[in-house]
Amino acid sequence: TNREATTINIEDEDVKRQTKAPGFVHDAEDEYSGHSDDREELLSGQRKSAPFWTFEYYQKFFDIETHHVRERILGSLLPWPRKNFIQFYLRRNPDLYGPFWICTTLVFAVFISGNISNFMAGKYNPQFRKVTIAATMIFSYAWFVPLGLWGFLLWRNNKILNLVSYSFMEVVCVYGYSLSAYIPAVVLCIAPLEWLRWCIMVAAFGLSGSILVMTFWPALREDHPKVAMAMVSAIVLLDVVLAVVCKMYFFSRPGAPVAPPTSGLIKTNTSSS
């Protein structure tokens, strides 16, 4: 049909390359050229599938170097319309390192920043159990939402011919890296001004949301317009929910009537007078 013809014209170079026969190694993978031949074969698309309960299965998701991680994080902090995250940065090599450690860092960043902001507001109550709650929230977002989205895309791909298809690991990877915008935001939320905190969170949500939308739009736009809009709204909405819940649960409203900060410091009943 005509739609398919125009789709092929508009698609990126990378998509055409992805649909070529496996074994074709394109230019950007020259960076792997130092490795042996069968590694190149593995990297170009035909992975030998080790069963998922073995160590080797997971090792292929850690097949990255420092500069890759750095580029991917920068790419998720600075979304660019032409650079689809999966096609440009992941290049068929999704990793689990980034998503996992970004989520862990975010958990502790949220917890520690929340503690500091509470401390500066005078209410010093560390509540270590908040770490567990933060971890559950953030890891659920980073794993179950991609699972749902990937399942949905798979289901729709059966009905609609779609040239763009993402593997589960790629979806998890995008979601993981999109959370990296929240880490500096959460640290900056230590500032005791309520309006500033909301501005910062909105900015972070803008960055992470735009990464997600720009990545998944090529996969969704083939679909029925209502379905596509509904999915985009769902992606955006879940991101908003995460941002708002983090902000409200961990950063209480400053200005509650409390004693001045110095008395919030550690007091012992044996302090010398």
Binding site: F55, F62, F108, I266, K267
Partner: protein, 232 residues
């Protein structure tokens, strides 16, 4: 034809080799058996209990010294043990208790939370470095990470002492300096052992989780606040 026959029987030409009489052949075929001392080394059932315990304690103490003065040595790696990490973890977790059971001052981490963070964190970091292609074994890595908590445990002791004495801002600044220094020390010591086993292009990927791990432990040490006794 003859050559082919020769070739088909590779050792045929050796059948008429003989050793001449004037070249003495001598030697000792017996396998050198170690002295019975090796038996004594492995059988430690007969030694007094005090000696057994002291030997392990000495090994642990030796590794503590290696952590405090990180040098390129393989003592931590070759003879790994998990007694030291266990001792340090229990000490740290006990020191982080503030002894209150009442629920409205739910302050710092519970004993189990400290334990889980230390051990689970070490296991995850070890898995991470192995997945990235590290050459250290699982337990060696656990051993290194556990032993390098020593500076932070010392900092915890110092913080507790400081909290008895000074209070207010000065005490806080002192504690901040002590905890920061010991966090840096821990991270430096453990990366000195761990980073050698990684290829250069992934070193930062392995070091960062270690940094995060000790940062979180340092945070727990720094924010420790003993409960105030309720005034009547």
């Amino acid at each position: 034809m003859a050559a082919e026959e020769e070739a088909s029987r590779p050792f045929a030409g050796l059948s008429d080799v003989s050793i001449s009489e004037d070249i003495p052949v001598e030697g000792d075929i017996s396998v050198p058996v170690g002295p019975s001392r090796t038996d004594e080394e492995f059988s430690t059932l007969d030694e007094p209990v005090k000696e057994t315990i002291l030997r392990d304690l000495r090994a642990v103490g030796n590794k503590f010294i290696h952590v405090l003065y990180p040098r390129r040595s393989s003592a931590l790696l070759r003879d790994w043990d998990l007694w030291g990490p266990l001792l340090l973890c229990v000490t740290l977790a006990l020191l982080l208790q503030d002894g209150t059971a009442d629920s409205d001052h739910e302050g710092g981490p519970q004993f189990a939370e400290v334990f889980v963070i230390v051990w689970f964190g070490s296991i995850i970091i070890t898995l991470n470095s192995k997945l990235l292609g590290g050459t250290l074994s699982f337990f060696q890595s656990l051993c290194v990470l556990g032993y390098c908590i020593l500076p932070l445990t010392v900092a915890m002791v110092v913080c507790r002492i400081v909290l008895f004495g000074a209070s207010g801002t000065i005490g806080f600044v002192v504690r901040l300096v002590v905890v920061t220094a010991s966090f840096g020390w821990s991270t430096f010591a453990s990366t000195a052992f761990l980073s050698d086993s990684q290829p250069a292009n992934r070193r930062a990927l392995v070091v960062y989780p270690v940094f995060l791990f000790y940062f979180v432990i340092g945070w727990m040490v720094l924010t420790f606040s003993p409960s105030t006794e309720r005034q009547p």
